[in-house]
Symmetry: C2
Subunit: 402 residues, 2 copies
C-alpha cells in the first residue's frame, strides 16, 4: 500500500456508500430508472429560487470582471461578510461583526477549518448518534478521534444523561447538527440549555474549553411551526457552520460561512487561526461569484412546501402501513426503525422491492434506516405499493390511504 494508513481505513469504509450507489445504478439498468425508488441521496430536488439566477446576471452585468472572479481577503469580500453579519443580527438578535464571519466552501469547509484549528493528534471530538458519518472523516483528517454518544431513541434529542461519561481532558470539541441528519429531529431550547450547563461543569473539570461546532445546513428546513433555536443564544463556546446548499439548492457551488460569536473563549486567537485555516487547507477563499450571489439571497425564504408535502405523504403512509417512524420536524430525512434488529437485512429485503434505503449503522445508529424525501412527490407516490408489499412481508398491515 502506498497510501497512508489513515486513508486506507477511509477508502475501505467509503466503499459501503459507493456500493449502495452502484447497486442503484445496476438495478436501474435492469428494471428501468423510473422503477427504482432511490431514497438514498441528499440531493435537493427543489430548484434554486429565481433570485439566484437574477443575482448572477446582475453581478455579471454591473461589476468588474477582475473583482467578481479575482482573489479577495481569505475570509471573503468585506461587503459579503458585513451583509451576512447583519442578516444574522436582524433575524436572531445576535451581535456578529465583519470579523466574526468567514465565507467558507460550504459547511463542510467550515467544519474542517475548525477541526484543523483545534485538533492535536489523538484529540477527541464527540458526535451524538445518529450523526452524519462524514464527521468521522473530517476528524480523522487531522489525527483526531471520533467519540460517539449513543442515540436516545425515545425522542432523538441529544442523549445528555450519559454525555459526561464521554468527556475527558482530550475532548476538544463536539459536533451538533440541528435540524439533524438523519433523524429529522430538532433539538429544543431546553435540550440546548441543559447541554450548556453540562458543558460549563465539564469545562471546569477538564480545565479547558469544549467548542460546540454547530453544523446548520438545514436551519431553514423546518415544519409544523417549529423554530430552530439559534445555537449561540444557548451555547457559549459555539461556532456556527452554515451552508446555502439546502436553503438555496446550491450544493454543487460550495458556498457557506463560519460565524464566530464574540462570546467564545479565546475569541481573537480562534478568529485569527480560523482565517489561516481557511487558506492553508487549500480552500484559499470561498468561491467568489457565489459569495456575491449569496449576499443577494440572505433574506430569501426557503420554499419548504414541496418538502413538507413529501414529508407528510411519506410519514403518514408508512406509519399507516405499520412502520415505526420518527416524525421529522426538520431537514428532509425520515428515520425509520427496522422491523428486524439487523437493519442490513431489511435494506436487502427492501431492495427486492426496488427500494433503496440507507442503513443507519453508518450514522452510528444500528437498527434504523434513513429515507431522503428530497425526491419528486411522484416518486414517493409510485413507491408506496412497494413499501406496502415490504410491510406485508414482515407481517405488518401494509394498508394506507392517501
Amino acid at each position: 500500500m502506498v497510501i497512508s494508513k489513515n486513508m486506507e481505513n477511509l477508502v475501505a469504509n467509503s466503499s459501503v456508500i459507493r456500493r449502495l450507489f452502484e447497486e442503484g445504478v445496476e438495478l436501474a439498468a435492469v428494471v428501468g430508472k423510473e422503477n427504482v425508488y432511490d431514497y438514498s441521496l441528499g440531493n435537493p430536488s427543489v430548484p434554486p429560487p429565481k433570485v439566484v439566477k437574477k443575482a448572477i446576471y446582475e453581478i455579471l452585468e454591473s461589476r468588474d470582471d477582475n473583482f467578481i472572479h479575482g482573489y479577495m481577503n481569505n475570509s471573503g469580500y468585506e461587503e459579503v461578510r458585513d451583509a451576512v453579519a447583519q442578516s444574522l443580527n436582524d433575524r436572531f438578535d445576535t451581535d456578529f461583526v465583519r470579523e466574526s464571519i468567514i465565507m467558507t466552501a460550504g459547511a463542510a469547509g467550515a467544519l474542517n477549518c475548525i477541526l484543523r484549528t483545534l485538533l492535536n493528534y489523538k484529540d477527541e471530538v464527540i458526535c451524538f448518534a445518529p450523526f452524519f458519518g462524514e464527521y468521522r472523516s473530517y476528524i480523522s483528517n487531522f489525527g483526531g478521534e471520533t467519540i460517539v454518544v449513543p442515540a436516545d431513541t425515545k425522542d432523538f434529542q441529544l442523549n445528555l444523561d450519559v454525555l459526561d461519561d464521554y468527556i475527558n481532558e482530550k475532548t476538544k470539541a463536539m459536533i451538533i447538527n440541528n435540524p439533524n441528519n438523519p433523524s429529522g429531529a430538532v433539538y429544543s431550547a431546553e435540550t440546548l440549555d441543559r447541554l450548556q450547563k453540562l458543558l460549563e461543569a465539564a469545562e471546569k473539570r477538564i480545565g479547558h474549553p469544549i467548542y460546540v461546532i454547530s453544523d446548520e445546513p438545514y436551519r431553514e428546513l423546518v415544519y409544523d411551526g417549529v423554530t430552530v433555536p439559534f445555537m449561540t443564544k444557548h451555547i457559549k463556546n459555539c461556532l456556527v457552520c452554515y451552508s446555502f446548499s439546502k436553503s438555496l439548492s446550491l450544493p454543487g457551488e460550495r458556498i457557506g460561512y463560519l460565524a464566530i460569536p464574540k462570546q467564545i473563549d479565546a475569541y481573537e486567537e480562534m478568529q485569527a487561526a480560523l482565517v489561516v485555516a481557511n487558506r492553508c487547507l487549500g480552500y484559499i477563499n470561498a468561491p467568489s461569484l457565489f459569495q456575491l450571489v449569496a449576499k443577494e439571497c440572505l433574506y430569501e425564504e426557503t420554499d419548504v412546501k414541496a418538502y413538507n408535502e413529501n414529508r407528510l405523504l411519506l410519514y403518514n403512509s408508512l406509519t399507516q402501513m405499520g412502520f415505526e417512524c420518527v416524525k421529522p420536524q426538520g431537514a428532509f430525512y425520515l428515520f425509520m426503525k427496522s422491523p428486524v434488529p439487523d437493519e442490513s437485512q431489511f435494506v436487502k429485503e427492501a431492495k427486492k422491492h426496488n427500494l433503496i434505503l440507507v442503513s443507519a449503522t453508518t450514522f452510528g445508529c444500528p437498527g434504523y434506516v434513513r429515507l431522503a424525501y428530497c425526491v419528486s412527490n411522484d416518486m414517493i407516490r409510485r413507491s408506496l405499493p412497494a413499501f406496502s408489499a415490504l410491510a406485508k412481508s414482515y407481517g405488518m398491515k401494509g394498508e394506507y390511504s392517501v
Copy 2:
C-alpha cells in the same frame, strides 16, 4: 492557547505576510494609493477572456438549474472530465481517461488531496528552493515534514546535484512547480529527465515510490518561445495539479483539476483514494458552474502579451539600473538578488521609496526578493524612478532608458 500546537506555528508565520499587506495599506493611507508600488500580490491583472462570460450565459440559459448547481460525482461531471482528458491528450499526446481526472478546488485543492492521501505522521515531502511557501502549510496539515533542497542560484534549475542527500525512507513525495513561483524559471526537459533517473535510483534504494506532485498554475504563462515540458512525459510517478486561476484569470472561483496518469505505481489504489480525499477534505466536489465553464474554455489561448510587456519593461529597466535579476521565462514573477546579504534590510529600504517587495526567505531563498509583475504597465512605469533612487542609494548606476 486553545488552538493546536501545529496551528500556533502557522499563525505565527502567517503574520509576516499579513504585516506586509497591512504595511501597504498604511502606506497608501499616508501617500495615496496611486503612489504605492505594490509588487507583492500574485493577483492576475489580465481580465478573464470573453469566452468565460459567454460560457456562463450559455450554461445558465440552456441547462437545467438543478444540474448546474447540484451535487454530482465527487470527481466532477463526467462530461467535464472527458473534455479535460481529451484536451490534454490533444495537446500533449498523453493517454488520460475520464477516471484519470478529478476536478478540484484549484491546484491547492489537488495538492491537499495528494498530501492527505500519502502522508503518515512525520513523513517527508521535498521542496526545491525557491518554492511557494504555502506548500509548508499544506504538508503540515497532515503531520508531514517539509524538507527543503537549497536553491541552485546559478540558473535556478532544480538543484539535482545534492538531491539524493535529502531522500530517505520517510520521503513520500516532492513538489515541483513549473514554471516556478517565485523565480520565473522553467525547468527544461533535460533537468526533468535527470530528475527521473535520480528518482528511479532513489526509489530502489528506499523501497517505495516517491510521487512527484507537479503544481502547474502557470503552464500557459511562458515567453520567448519557451515551452514547458509536459511533466508526465518525463517523470513516471507524476501527479499533475492544474489550476485555471492564472490562465483564465479566475483565481477566486477555485477551479482546477488533478490528472493521474495510468503509468504511476499503484494507479488504482491512488485513484480511488484521491477521489475519497476530495470528498473527505470538505471540498466535496469542485464548484459546479465553473466546472462547466472551464469545459468550454479548455482550448483558450492565454493572452500573455500584457504580462510579457510588463516582464520586459521591468527586467530590462532594473537590469540597466544595476540590479541582478533572473530573467523570467514563465509565470509573472521577477526574482531579484538583494544588493545586501540581508534582504529584509533591502525590503525595508525599498519601502522608503514606496516599493513593496517580498523577501524570499519565505520562499526558502534568503538574499533574494520577489516582484509580481501582474500589475498595470502604468504602475511599473511610474515606479521606475523609485527603483532608480533605490539603486543609487546602494551605489549602483540607477540609470535606465525605456
